[in-house]
Amino acid sequence: MIAPNDILRDAEAMRWELGPRFQDEIAARVSGEASELAGRHIHRRGDGSRLAWQRRLDRILTGRFTGIPAMASIFALVLWLTIEGANVPSGMLAELLVDTLHPWLKTQALALGMWPWLAGLLFDGMYLAGAWVVSVMLPPMAIFFPMFTLLEDFGYLPRVAFNLDRLFQKAGAHGKQALTMTMGIGCNAAGVVATRIIDSPRERLIAILTNNFSLCNGRWPTQILMATVFVAAVAPPAVAGVIAAGAVFSVAVLGFLFAFACSWALSRTVLKGESSTFSLELPPYRPPNLLRTLHTSLVDRTIFVLWRAVVFAVPAGAVIWLVANVHAGGQSLAWWAIQGLDPLAWVMGLTGVILLAYIIAIPANEIVVPTILMLTVLVSGSPVADAPAAGVMFEAEDSALHAMLVSAGWSTLTAVCLMLFSLLHNPCSTTLYTIQKETGDWRWTTLAAALPLALGFIVCSSVAFVWRYLAG
């Protein structure tokens, strides 16, 4: 019988005699055998024509000068199609769910003798929040996600990483961060999980802390709404869609710039170190399987994210209704909170309603827009039935929504600051929970929340200050 320890001792002794570095010799033998096998059994017939078009396409999409402009145009086009395409279905959904079904449900419930407060909580609160989330989010997501998945299946994402690698490297971060940031466009929590593809712990932390700077799908509706209702409203109707897409695109690009800047700052302070090298394989372009793409993007992404939004929106709807209807000292709780938040909000170019909405919407960014709308309506005291239909949301002209928000004290400055704050604020609680799980350290989690929040305060306040100064 031979004990394991004897074998280990023998191995130890022999290792000294053999000397180091036989690894390379083995590697050389393996690759020699690989090419021998290939030589014997693989035959190429001429130069495949498909390879040629792939090479030509790569010369444009990953070219030194054409790569980044091509990337910008592709993403701008995707955004524009999303904004233009979401108009009509969003209006129809809102008409059905908010304008028609909501009053009908409430009347039926009251006719059946339901207590008015319960009907208010159920239908003015919970149902309406859910209905608004669906009509605001479903159409843009159902357009955006399939297009994004098509690009992914086509093989474009590694090219994005390739194009941005130089920039990330200059920022002291890992080139694969470009991939995790693009995943963050879908959902930051998913982006944080995707950072597992980065091997170096230092660069992985940078990627986790800055993932929040890629706008997640929960924040696109806020961006799109503000851009169409306020920013595009100052442009001629013919180019309104392009202007709106341009505004949203700029915010998204700004997010990437903040990601570079923060990565740079982090890699020179708390997370010092050199950026590691890696090899990235550019896969061949593959024609996406249309049916599969539709399935993955609709079922796995759109419905999944939408369901999550509804799950968070329904209890939030109850909270919104309660803070607007429970009174203390002659005023509703919401009124007190808004009064308290107003001074801070003014400095940041926002309103107290927006800040309150962001506190209520910590569980999910998706519900920020419905929360703002519901709070505005409930606090201004007008009955919910008279609220402007969310259907006009994506139409800049003759917008009842525009009128309502202006009467609630909004200006273009408010919209711009809201777009910026939507980019620069703490991640949602799901993402924070994921960060805590992935880093296992509450200090990094705190930093991940505090960093964008501080930036958001600084940026919004500066913009508001300059804007007001210029406006006199």
Partner: protein
């Protein structure tokens, strides 16, 4: 390898009579299949094809960050399949490579299904050859043969199978092409109907042969069931901490 005559089943929506996709149900396990390969060769597509699961696939390397498990039923036997992260090698120290190597060594797979990209097989052979040093019970799935055809690449699958000593199947997993043959090969290797042979030459450098032979002799005496004593011996000579620990903790079957 068995080929079936066309039957009525070929016309129904699932033309694979023997296969039942079990999704996540892995209670009963008769055979364990490890799914290995380079990044972005379609491992997850093969995985989904076999299990009926919808593990997200995408055209970029590094998609599968942890290992995923699923199950399928083949001729009444339950197979658990483990989708390992894609790697170029098994000898490195990245977490992906460690996960893959750990499973191949200690997960006791009955069959290792190596998925390779037909358009760049030579590069894929490196991992395959490393795997064949660890286990001979393997099946090579040459995926994306449709793309290779379009690129004008001819692959002699029979010749490869002869030289490697394992079944070699051409497939286009996204279209379900080659599934039937792949299933038969997995079943044949798992049940011992196909006996894989070690035809790939020993990669041990000549200067090391004596030492490796001496050590593997001892390993063979101590652990008669060990499948790959010379590979383990080589790792021990190198001082691989994981293998040393496995020996100390008695993780190798005696």
């Amino acid at each position: 390898m068995s080929t079936c005559a066309p039957t009525a089943c070929d016309n129904c929506s699932t033309p694979y009579a023997e296969l039942r996709r079990l999704g996540l149900k892995t209670e009963r396990v008769d055979h364990v299949v490890a799914l290995a390969g380079n990044p972005n060769v379609g491992k997850s597509t093969v995985f989904n094809l076999l299990t009926g699961l919808r593990q997200h696939t995408g055209n970029w390397p590094g998609k599968t960050v942890a290992r995923a498990e699923g199950a399928f039923d083949l001729d009444g036997k339950c197979y658990k399949i483990v989708d390992l992260p894609g790697t170029y090698s098994l000898l490195g120290t990245t977490p992906d490579e460690e996960v893959a190597r750990e499973f191949l060594l200690f997960g006791k797979p009955s069959v290792t299904l190596v998925v390779a990209d037909a358009t760049c097989l030579e590069r894929n052979f490196i991992l395959l050859l490393q795997i064949l040093q660890i286990t001979t019970r393997a099946v090579l799935c040459v995926n994306l043969v449709d793309e290779a055809r379009a690129h004008g690449i001819d692959i002699d699958l029979r010749g490869l199978s002869r030289d490697l000593g394992i079944p070699v199947i051409g497939a286009a997993a996204r279209r379900g092409e080659g599934l039937q043959e792949l299933l038969a090969a997995i079943r044949d290797v798992a049940t011992g109907q196909f006996i894989c042979e070690r035809r790939v030459p020993d990669m041990t450098p000549p200067g090391l042969r004596g030492a490796v032979e001496e050590l593997s002799q001892k390993l063979r005496t101590a652990y008669p069931a060990m499948e790959n004593p010379s590979w383990i011996a080589l790792r021990l000579l190198e001082g691989d901490p994981r293998i040393v620990a496995a020996l100390k903790n008695g993780e190798f079957a005696t």
